[in-house]
């Protein structure tokens, strides 16, 4: 009986620990995708500024309130704008940002294709 009790409490502890770890991992993942606005070139996760520390607490609070990752991003975007996200969504402000690599790829491909065709014609 004692062994059973021990086993059950052990499993319970492991379960608690792992779910806690999961929440912590999500928090880290979120704060890594947030830009610390007062320190240049650092994420909130990396920074130890007052602003970043408060933001970490807030993210934890919001997760406890039951908000998911996306909702937290939307919430912070409303307050601070797209700039706070390292991975900004597709909006009218970011068309250019997202489409530029594709355009460059197509354009580059076209140049190469033209060269190849020209070479073939010469041959």
């Amino acid at each position: 009986m004692n062994i059973l009790k021990f086993l059950i409490s052990g499993i319970f502890l492991i379960y608690c620990f792992s779910s806690d770890l999961k929440a912590k991992n999500l928090e880290i993942e979120i704060t890594k995708n947030l830009r610390c606005l007062i320190c240049q070139g650092q994420s909130v996760y990396d920074s130890d500024s007052e602003f970043a520390n408060s933001l970490k607490i807030l993210v934890e609070k919001k997760l406890n309130e039951g908000l998911d990752e996306k909702q937290i991003y939307v919430y912070l975007k409303d307050k601070y704008g797209d700039w706070i996200l390292y991975d900004p969504g597709f909006s009218k402000n970011t068309y250019f940002l997202w489409l530029l690599p594709i355009l460059m790829f197509i354009f580059g491909g076209a140049i190469i294709l033209r060269k190849v065709i020209l070479k073939k014609k010469k041959l």
Binding site: L37, E50, S54, L55, I57, K79, Y80
Partner: protein, 172 residues
């Protein structure tokens, strides 16, 4: 034909790149996003500074009066600089000054107010800085002018003569 297009294209591309970077030189490297005017104020629970009574933001910002929310801390040097402007504004009757004590030690904050005088009609606590984030603030000092539960002006950094004048104009 081929020889002509390529150099033109190259020059064109590089001049665009040059232009973009040259323009970028003149920008400040501290980025503050444009604020959408008339943001609704956040709702939060907090504690009153002196009595430590629980208080909700609904009980602080009531009706159509002008409110000036000032985020401050005793450890913040620019807050001392802007203090005289807050004192100046506290003499105006149609504007209520609300203080948000940011990550501060109570005794230090109290001494700050004793030494420099208290311009605030009400002060509430923000011990972990999360309320500042609800406001969309970056740090201390920061000031928001509020009317009808909407932020009509946001000031990042300390107040100065010019901003004081602007606030007075807006609250005429």
């Amino acid at each position: 034909m081929k020889t002509k297009i390529f150099p033109i294209f190259l020059i064109f591309t590089f001049s665009i790149i040059f232009f973009v970077f040259y323009k970028g030189l003149q920008n400040t490297n501290i980025y503050t996003p444009e604020i959408k005017s008339e943001i609704k104020i956040p709702n939060f629970d907090t504690k009153e500074f002196f009595s430590k009574d629980k208080i909700n933001s609904d009980q602080i910002f009531i009706g159509s009066d002008y409110y000036l929310l000032n985020i401050w801390a005793s450890w913040c040097v620019p807050c001392k600089e802007e203090h005289k402007y807050l004192m100046d504004l506290s003499e105006k009757d149609n504007i209520k000054i609300i203080g948000q004590n940011y990550k501060d030690n109570f005794d230090n904050a109290k001494n700050f107010l004793i030494n420099l005088d208290n311009p605030y009609d009400l002060i509430f606590l923000d011990n972990d800085g999360t309320i500042a984030i609800e406001w969309g603030a970056y740090g201390v000092p920061e000031t928001f002018l509020i009317q009808n539960n909407k932020i009509i002006k946001k000031i990042i950094g300390p107040l100065d003569e010019k901003l004081l004048f602007e606030i007075k104009e807006l609250t005429q």
